[in-house]
């Protein structure tokens, strides 16, 4: 009986030590990526190719989800607001929730699922088929050639995707609120414009999506680079990417929101 407990404690301990170890390796990996980023900017077409595969190819899912999220916000918001006779504030509700929170966060979650998993699978497979070792044999630094361009592509794409998500979400809210339900159009836009501040709301939203972009791509790259070089290992790494980066996005969002909107009425 005691040996069972000892085993359980040992297992937990091993897990914790392993987690801290991985975190250390991940930090070193991120630093190496930043240190070897020079190549990405000297040979920018590498980054452009990655912006295409992670940014442009995520467009459809981002735009369609943004439209629907905005339309749902319009419907739900109207239901609640009209009870208090302030259905005209619908624009404020839709725009603020999209620009401050939903745009950056939901776009980043979708980005993690659509582009993050693809990055992990690609790099994991490169490792499994020993392409990365082959590069090292040819004196090509795989971090500079493969990892860094993907990182910068993610950092560049994410704010653009989040901005598109918010913009089309506001349009979706407008469609449902004004065109379908019949909230006054002028009040919808004027109250929105009066309430949404460029620096306080829009710039902060962009900063958020920058951070999320960096976090998601860094996690995806590390998981791919760290994957066991087997089919199972790659599939596990892909799952871990989606889970870890989703958690990271939500945790970072809390921290950033606490910094940005603290003490505001």
């Amino acid at each position: 009986m005691p040996s069972r407990i000892v085993k359980a404690v040992r297992r937990v301990g091993a897990r914790v030590v392993d987690g801290v170890w991985r975190l250390g390796v991940a930090s070193r990996f991120l630093l190496l990526t930043l240190a070897y980023s020079g190549t990405s900017f000297r040979r920018f077409h590498l980054v452009i190719k990655e912006i295409f595969s992670s940014g442009v190819l995520s467009l459809i899912i981002i735009l369609v989800s943004g439209l629907f999220v905005g339309m749902v916000l319009g419907l739900q918001g109207y239901n609640t607001l009209q009870r208090y006779g302030s259905a005209e504030s619908l624009g404020v509700l839709v725009a603020l929730s999209l620009v401050r929170e939903l745009g950056p966060v939901v776009a980043a979650l979708l980005f993690a699922g659509r582009a993050g998993s693809a990055i992990t699978a690609e790099i994991g497979l490169m490792k499994a088929t020993e392409q990365l070792s082959a590069m090292e044999m040819m004196a090509i630094n795989p971090i500079a050639r493969v990892v860094a361009p993907r990182f910068w592509a993610g950092v560049i794409s994410m704010p653009l995707l989040a901005a598109m998500f918010s913009a089309i979400g506001v349009f979706g809210g407008y469609l449902v609120g004004v065109k379908l339900i019949g909230v006054d159009e002028g009040a919808f836009w004027s109250q929105m414009q009066a309430a949404v501040d460029f620096h306080q709301d829009i710039v902060n939203g962009v900063i958020k999506s920058f951070v999320f972009g960096a976090a998601v791509t860094a996690i995806a790259l590390f998981e791919g680079y760290d994957a066991s070089p087997t089919a199972e290992g790659v599939s596990r790494a892909t799952t871990r990417t989606v889970v870890t980066s989703s958690l990271a996005i939500l945790a970072l969002d809390f921290v950033l929101t606490a910094f940005m909107f603290r003490g505001e009425g």
Partner: protein, 156 residues
């Protein structure tokens, strides 16, 4: 440098992203024009406009007949100078009165116009002379409490 199709797509992507940011900054954040096709502007001075905002509706008998185009502080009279952009198909007499109303108890504020009996109509640039300021809820409550206190004093 050679050009590839991918460059075109990435360029398009970046343009769309920046365009979305621009839309957020201008349309959601600030700016944007009033879109009534044919309109004329009149001004009205109010002692207090409460929470009236630019682009708020101007209503007459509950029908939207225009929008608030501009709100400025009039230094000479120490009043708010509100420019109303009215639809050309709705003429109003020269002795029209303008008041600031609230839709619902806590709803947004709008300008209500009530036409008078004068046969001369308002023209571009005219000024509405009869105005009624916004009702400020705090003042109203204050007044109510003051009256209540006065009443209570008399009874004793």
């Amino acid at each position: 440098m050679e050009r590839t199709t991918i460059d075109l797509w990435v360029g398009l992507f970046v343009v769309m992203g920046l365009g979305a940011l621009l839309v957020l900054a201008l349309k959601v954040g600030n700016l944007g024009g009033v879109n009534i096709d044919e309109s004329y502007s009149v001004t009205a001075n109010f002692g207090n406009i409460g929470g009236l905002k630019v682009r708020a509706p101007v209503k007459s008998a509950g029908v939207v007949v225009g929008r608030v185009a501009d709100i400025k502080y009039d230094i000479e009279n120490h009043e708010a100078k509100v420019t109303l952009k009215l639809d050309k198909q709705y003429p109003f007499s020269r002795d029209t009165s303008a008041s600031i109303m609230t839709s619902g108890l806590l709803g947004e504020q709008y300008v209500a116009l009530e036409s008078g009996g004068d046969s001369v109509m308002l023209k571009e640039g005219d000024k509405i002379k009869i105005t009624q300021s916004a009702v400020v809820l705090e003042n109203l409550i204050g007044q109510f409490l003051y009256n209540k206190a006065a009443d209570g004093g008399e009874k004793k």
